[in-house]
C-alpha cells in the first residue's frame, strides 16, 4: 500500500489584489505536501513574495480558498491557540534580513519567536543555542544586527526562524545580494535542512541553485499565475518556458560573421 504524504498547503483559485487595484496573484491552484522541497521560480514582480506571505498567514487571499495543515486558514486566524500552533509550524524568512532582525542583538532576535510562543525559558535557551549552532553563528550571539555583513545577517535571519523549529520553511530570495561563497554556503545549508525532512518553499529567480534546493519547481508567470509545475530537470531544460517567464532572455551575438541567437540566463553571462 502506498502512503501519501499529508498536504501542508492547498490553494484553490487563490488571488490577491493590493489596494483593490494592483493584482499580485491570480488563480493559484497548488498543493504542497509534507517533506517536499519546492522552488517558486519567477521574475521580479511575479507575485512570489506575496504568495509566501499568504502561505504564512500574513495576507488573506482576496479570492479563492486556502487550507493549511488540512484546516481552513480563516478558522486558524480566528483561534488564538491555532494561530500559535500555526506560527510554531511555519517559519518565513523575509528577503530583506534588516526587516527580520529588529532586536538589539542576534541572540535576542533568535529568542524572539520561541518567547512569543510562551515556551519555558530553559527551552527557549536550548532552541537559541541549537539554531545559532545550525547556522554556525554562535560567535554572533551578542552582536548588534547593524554590525553584521550581508551573509551574516541572512544566516541570523534564518536562525531566528529555525528557533521556532518549524515543520515548514518559507524562504524569500535567500541568496539575493550575497557574494558567491556565502551564497553556496547558504545553499548547502538549505539543502541540508531539506534532507532533514523539512518542507521548504524557496522563492527565487536564481536558476543555478534550483536543482540543489528543490525536488519540484513551480514557475510563476508575469501574469501572476502559475505557468508550469514539474521536476527541476524538465523545467530548467525548457528554454521557451523560461523565456516566457522572463527568467532567461534571447541573446543575439556573432560567431565570426554568423549571427547567432540563443537563450541566455538573466544576470549571468554564458561561458564566462
Amino acid at each position: 500500500m502506498v502512503t501519501r504524504a499529508a498536504p501542508i498547503f492547498e490553494l484553490y483559485g487563490v488571488g490577491y489584489t493590493y489596494s483593490r487595484k494592483q493584482v499580485a496573484l491570480d488563480g493559484i491552484n497548488l498543493t504542497v505536501v509534507e517533506g517536499e522541497t519546492l522552488a517558486l521560480l519567477g521574475a521580479n514582480g511575479s507575485g512570489k513574495s506575496t504568495l509566501l506571505k499568504i502561505l504564512d498567514g500574513l495576507y488573506t487571499p482576496t479570492t479563492g480558498h486556502l487550507r493549511v495543515f488540512e484546516s481552513d486558514i480563516q478558522a486558524v486566524a480566528a483561534d488564538l491557540e491555532e494561530t500559535h500552533r500555526f506560527h510554531r509550524r511555519i517559519g518565513l524568512v523575509f528577503q530583506d534580513p534588516d526587516v527580520q532582525l529588529f532586536s538589539p542583538t542576534v541572540g535576542d532576535d533568535v529568542a524572539f519567536g520561541p518567547l512569543q510562543l510562551g515556551l519555558a525559558l530553559s527551552e527557549v535557551r536550548r532552541r537559541v543555542e541549537a539554531a545559532l549552532g545550525q547556522m554556525g553563528i554562535e560567535h554572533l550571539r551578542d552582536r548588534a544586527p547593524f554590525e553584521l555583513s550581508g551573509g551574516e545577517k541572512k544566516r541570523a535571519a534564518i536562525a531566528s526562524v529555525l528557533s521556532l523549529e518549524p515543520d515548514v520553511l518559507l524562504l524569500d530570495e535567500p541568496t539575493a545580494s550575497l557574494d558567491p561563497r556565502t551564497k553556496w554556503v547558504l545553499v548547502d545549508m538549505i539543502a541540508e535542512l531539506g534532507r532533514q525532512g523539512k518542507t521548504i518553499i524557496t522563492a527565487t529567480h536564481d536558476l543555478e541553485i534550483v536543482p540543489i534546493i528543490a525536488q519540484r519547481v513551480v514557475v510563476m508567470g508575469e501574469d501572476r499565475s502559475i505557468l508550469a509545475d514539474g521536476a527541476p530537470e524538465r523545467i530548467l531544460s525548457d528554454d521557451a518556458l523560461l523565456v516566457e517567464a522572463n527568467l532567461i532572455h534571447e541573446h543575439l551575438h556573432r560567431h565570426a560573421t554568423v549571427a547567432h541567437a540563443h537563450a541566455h540566463e538573466v544576470d549571468a553571462h554564458h561561458g564566462l
Binding site: 500559535h84 535576542d108 518567547l115 544586527p145 547593524f146
Partner: protein, 293 residues
C-alpha cells in the same frame, strides 16, 4: 607644466569644487556619530572592571551617582567624585586621554561659556577688577566658585554617563532600563528606534551621494529645496513600508501584541559591592560633603 605650476593649480581646482550642502553635511555628521557609537561598542567588549559588572547594577549605580553629582554643592567633593570616575575608567581599559578630551572639549567648554557671564554680574566678594576703557568688569570670588561648581557638576555627570555607555553594550543598557520599571513596550520602541534610525540615515546618505554623483553644475536654491522635500517624502514612505514589513516579521514569529523578553543577567557579589559602594559615595557626595565643609 612644472611641478610648481601644477601644485599652484590644485587649490584653484579645489576652490571650484562644490561645497556640501547643510542637510548633506548634517546627515553625514549624524551618520558618522552613529558609526562612532558602534565603534564605542568595542570598548564595551573589553575585559575591564566595569565591563564585567552586571549592566543593571551599573545602570543603577551610575544613575545614583549622577543624581548625587547634581545635588552636590561643594567643589572638592565634585573633584573627588570626578577623580573616582577617572580611576573607574582607567581600570576599565578606557583611553583616559580620549575620555577626558571628549568630556571637557564638549561639555566643559559649553557649560563654561554658558556660566561665564555670571562671574561678572553676580556675587559679593570682589576678586579682580578689569578696566576696559570707559567701563570695567569685576570678577566676584563667590561667583567664580559657583561657576566652577556648575562646570564640575556638568562634567562629572557627563563623564559618568559616557563611562556607562563606553563600558556597556547599548543592548544591555536598554534591557537594564526594565530594572527601573520602564515598560517592555517602551524599551522595545527605544531599541527599534536605535536599530532603524541607523538604517534610515544610511539610506538618506546613499540618496545624497547618488544625487551628488549626477550633479555637474551648481543647482539653484529652489531646486535644492524641492529635492530635499521630495527626499524626505521618499524616506518617509520607505520608513513606513519598512515598519509594515517589520511588523509582519514580528507577527510571523508569533507576536500577539505583548512583548516577551529574556534576560540572562546574574548579580554576583562584585555587582552588589559596586552598587553598595556607589550608594555610599553618592551619600557622601550629597550629605558628607556638606558636613565636612
Amino acid at each position: 607644466m612644472t611641478t610648481e605650476q601644477a601644485s599652484a593649480a590644485v587649490p584653484q581646482a579645489n576652490s571650484r569644487r562644490l561645497k556640501p550642502g547643510f542637510v548633506e553635511k548634517t546627515l553625514a555628521d549624524i551618520s558618522s556619530s552613529i558609526e562612532r557609537a558602534i565603534f564605542s561598542e568595542e570598548n564595551a567588549r573589553k575585559e575591564g572592571f566595569l565591563q564585567r559588572r552586571d549592566p543593571r547594577a551599573k545602570l543603577l549605580a551610575f544613575v545614583v551617582l549622577i543624581i548625587a553629582a547634581g545635588l552636590s554643592r561643594e567643589w572638592p567633593v565634585l573633584v573627588g567624585l570626578y577623580g573616582l570616575v577617572l580611576v573607574a575608567a582607567a581600570i576599565s581599559s578606557i583611553d583616559l586621554g580620549l575620555f577626558i578630551k571628549r568630556v571637557w572639549l564638549g561639555m566643559g567648554l559649553f557649560s563654561g561659556v554658558v556660566i561665564l557671564p555670571s562671574i561678572f554680574f553676580i556675587g559679593h566678594r570682589e576678586l579682580l577688577h578689569i578696566p576696559l576703557g570707559f567701563f570695567s568688569l569685576t570678577v566676584h570670588g563667590d561667583a567664580l566658585v559657583a561657576a566652577a561648581i556648575f562646570v564640575l557638576r556638568v562634567c562629572a555627570s557627563v563623564s559618568l554617563a559616557i563611562l556607562l555607555i563606553l563600558t556597556t553594550k547599548w543592548a544591555d543598557v536598554l534591557k537594564s532600563l526594565r530594572v527601573m520599571r520602564i515598560p517592555n513596550a517602551l524599551v522595545l520602541v527605544l531599541a527599534m528606534t536605535y536599530r532603524y534610525i541607523f538604517l534610515v540615515l544610511h539610506t538618506a546618505n546613499a540618496m545624497f551621494l547618488a544625487r551628488k554623483s549626477r550633479i555637474v553644475a551648481r543647482t539653484s536654491g529652489r531646486e535644492q529645496r524641492w529635492w530635499i522635500v521630495s527626499s524626505v517624502g521618499v524616506l518617509m514612505s520607505r520608513s513606513l513600508r519598512m515598519s509594515e514589513d517589520v511588523y509582519q516579521a514580528m507577527l510571523a514569529r508569533g507576536f500577539q501584541g505583548e512583548m516577551q523578553t529574556i534576560d540572562d543577567y546574574r548579580m554576583r557579589p562584585a555587582d552588589w559591592l559596586l552598587l553598595s559602594a556607589s550608594i555610599l559615595v553618592a551619600a557622601t557626595t550629597v550629605a558628607g560633603g556638606r558636613l565636612w565643609w
